[in-house]
């Protein structure tokens, strides 16, 4: 017989958990007492519960394992909501354990009591309120199973304090057999055959690669498929790295800030095969104009995604890797000739290369900074925050492997990157971990620099500092007659160099290419977490850009390129 708190530790050990991120508190005291006594996994004390959830998320994205966070009741839990919503939006496997007031106090508005399960319900894959010690081992087992299986996602377990104190028999189930939850992994063979026939008839087929290809570890199967069939592919922000950056069939990112070639490919294709993507509005633009000429094949493990936004002609529920391998088997004898289609795409690329920018020796351009980092550390693990810098990284960093980019795609959570980088640093020991943030987002969870220092983890943080909330400023420039309502941060910024030092980091402020290269090499040599505050061009925009609600072929393109082409 062991206590509920001990059961939690035993379950985490049996699930192979290496690290949990958390913050103690009154209702969680029994759990934290048990954590103190064990050496099976490491607990990392974050400086804010939101950081715990983002760190678990970053760890999960980079490692492919389930991220775990533990927090206390009430505000401890509510502080994690942004983090679990972020993980939910991007289908990231996570188990969040929150302590709750004792069963006898639930519903009395006790100190630090909140209806945690009620609050998390809309943004978790599943949730549990543990009412008895007998159910605790099963609940823990199911939580990990649900988090990592099917379409992955965060699972929340709310555990009252008395449950963590009382003793019960600990029989951890060896397997899960839930009558109500059985994800479908194998695609329907008849539908796959139908799609194979359509593919062999198509003149302009196109793959559309989403984050599901990464969470299902399907990159290798997709690369094989592309190599054999020569079907070109566009990807979403979440699908970066599934195909190598320089793969000749990789048309790069599509959508609101996608390349001209990728967006035109989507608009002109006659068969669009969506792989683990969900037709987000940032990709489709105006849906009535989206891929109008194409038959749509939608492959996804989550049936609710299929035909939600764009009606699918070939709906296939299943694991992307499994379905694409089955599809390849169906077409492997066929000789594809897509040379005409490729020449059309090449022409698009020659008109407006993806991606380009006008460099300067006077003022640092963010694209140059990102390119330079990619040149010096091509295998770095990249984390971004949310905003212009996120899109520049997506456009200019050369991703050659899945799980090299951790970014908040679905929810677009500012403040994500420093705690997520902490998680990535634990998942990728001794590898370069590089965090890009804007000056706005960097401040949002800056306290986790302290955690990095305390844990002796090294992350190189690059602030692309234009003294604006840049993406909002870009929209204000173009759509609000330059009324910069509450986005100008000039003269109201902290001294990031001194601030970073106060957290125990190495820090630099750079304004030129030479200064940046020197500082970056210093960071690579340093054993500590570093911050480079990079002063960049204030009014640089992310281009191409599709205005919200416009068709994706209606892109605002870099001005110089338009001029060059029209001459």
């Amino acid at each position: 017989m062991i206590t509920g708190a001990k059961m939690i530790c035993e379950a985490l050990k049996l699930e192979g958990v290496e690290v949990v991120f958390g913050y103690p508190g009154g209702a969680a005291l029994n759990i934290y007492d048990e954590l103190y006594k064990q050496n099976d996994f490491k607990h990392v004390l974050v400086r804010h519960e939101q950081g715990a959830a983002h760190a678990a998320d970053g760890y999960a994205r980079a490692s492919g394992k389930v991220g775990v966070a533990i927090v206390t009741s009430g505000p401890g839990f509510t502080n994690t909501l942004t983090g679990i919503a972020t993980a939910y939006a991007d289908s990231i496997p996570m188990v969040l354990i929150s302590a709750q007031v004792a069963n006898s106090l639930i519903g009395t508005d006790a100190f630090q009591e909140i209806d945690a399960v009620g609050m998390s319900r809309p943004c978790v894959k599943h949730s549990y309120l543990v009412k008895t010690i007998e159910e605790l081992p099963r609940v823990l087992k199911e939580a990990f199973f649900i988090a990592r299986s099917g379409r992955p996602g965060p699972v929340h377990i709310d555990i009252p304090k008395d449950i963590t104190a009382i003793k019960g028999e600990f029989k951890y189930p060896s397997e899960v057999n839930m009558k109500t939850y059985k994800p479908t992994y194998k695609g329907n063979p008849r539908q796959i055959k139908r799609l194979a026939s359509a593919l062999m008839e198509a003149k302009k087929p196109l793959l559309y690669i989403g984050g599901g290809c990464i969470s299902s570890n399907s990159s290798e199967a997709i690369r094989k498929f592309v190599e054999k069939t020569k079907v070109p592919a566009v990807c979403t922000l979440m699908g970066l790295g599934v195909l190598e950056h320089d793969n000749p069939y990789n048309l790069r990112m599509a959508g609101m800030h996608g390349s001209y070639r990728a967006n035109m490919a989507m608009s002109e294709c006659d068969l669009l095969i969506s792989l683990g993507a969900r037709f987000d509005d940032r990709i489709t633009g105006k849906t009535s104009e989206f891929a109008k000429l194409a038959k749509i094949a939608h492959i996804d493990i989550d049936p609710t995604s299929i035909s939600k936004i764009i009606k699918a002609d070939f709906p296939i529920v299943g694991d992307v890797g499994s379905v694409i391998s089955d599809l390849l088997d169906e077409v492997k004898e066929f000789e594809f000739d897509l040379s005409t289609w490729h020449s059309v795409l090449d022409r698009h690329e020659s008109l407006y290369p993806s991606f380009s920018y006008e460099d300067s020796d006077e003022i640092l351009k963010p694209q140059w900074v990102i390119n330079e980092c990619a040149k010096i550390t091509p295998n770095a693990n990249i984390i971004t925050d949310v905003g212009q810098h996120q899109m520049w990284v997506a456009q200019f960093f050369k991703f050659n492997e899945p799980r090299r980019l951790s970014t908040s795609g679905g929810l677009g959570t500012m403040g994500y990157s420093i705690p997520a980088a902490l998680g990535v640093a634990f998942a990728k020991n001794n590898e370069v971990v590089l965090n890009f943030a804007g000056d706005g987002s960097f401040l949002m969870n800056i306290q986790e620099l302290m955690t990095l220092t305390a844990e002796r983890k090294k992350v190189i943080n690059i602030i692309l500092n234009n003294a604006y909330l840049g993406m909002v400023r870009q929209w204000q420039t173009r759509f609000y007659n330059e009324r910069y309502s509450e986005t100008n941060l000039e003269d109201v910024q902290p001294d990031y160099e001194m601030l970073a030092r106060s957290f125990g980091c190495d820090s630099f402020r750079v304004k030129s290419k030479d200064e940046f290269i020197k500082a970056y090499h210093e960071c690579l040599k340093s054993p500590r977490t570093c911050v480079i505050d990079v002063v960049i061009s204030r009014f640089e925009d992310v281009l191409p850009m599709v205005p919200a609600g416009a068709a994706i072929y209606n892109m605002i393109l870099p001005q110089k390129l338009i001029t060059k082409d029209s001459k």
């Binding site: 399960v117 009620g118 319900r121 809309p122 894959k125 599943h126 949730s127 309120l129 009412k131 649900i146 839930m178 009558k179 109500t180 939850y181 989550d302 049936p303 609710t304 035909s307 939600k308």
Partner: protein, 153 residues
């Protein structure tokens, strides 16, 4: 368009609010909702009457399927459908014709005292609607509808 759904879910706390939250979170309407455990099993049956076009209804059913606690969703099938209504009327009035009205709707007097009688009718929702229109001439003081109970044929 009126839609009927019968959802078999795990009989556990919080499951009903997951189902209801799914509707409220997406702005779908619930016209009627009934729920009770299924005897001898670990499941409950939730009956929902909603409305919406084909695309909305498809999303509703898919989302219901997606809930971890959902075992089965019956939709677009032939249902046996019943709804119960209780109507309280004052007995201090001319009640001529009430007997034949009750016979026509298979109604019964569920309760009476020296002031009121309470009538109970069990029928399909359409017929309950008709009954409520007809009973108006007896100036009902109050009425309570149960919501629809469904079972697939």
């Amino acid at each position: 368009m009126r839609r009927a759904l019968s959802v078999i879910v795990e009989n556990q706390h919080g499951v009903l609010s997951r189902v209801v939250g799914l509707f409220s979170g997406r702005g779908y309407n619930i016209d009627s909702l009934t729920v009770a455990p299924i005897a001898g099993t670990e499941f409950s049956r939730i009956n929902i009457i909603t409305s919406g076009d084909e695309a909305v209804f498809e999303q509703i059913t898919k989302q219901l399927h997606k809930l971890i606690s959902t075992y089965k969703v019956f939709e677009d099938c032939e249902f046996v459908e019943r709804e119960c209504v209780l109507v309280k009327i004052n007995i201090d009035q001319n009640l001529a014709g009430l007997d034949s009205l009750l016979k026509g709707y298979n109604g019964t007097i569920a309760h009476s005292n020296d002031e009121y009688m309470t009538i109970c009718v069990n029928d399909t929702s359409d017929r309950v609607d008709n009954f409520l229109k007809t009973i108006k001439k007896y100036n009902p003081k109050d009425c309570a509808r149960s919501g629809v109970v469904l079972m697939e044929n």
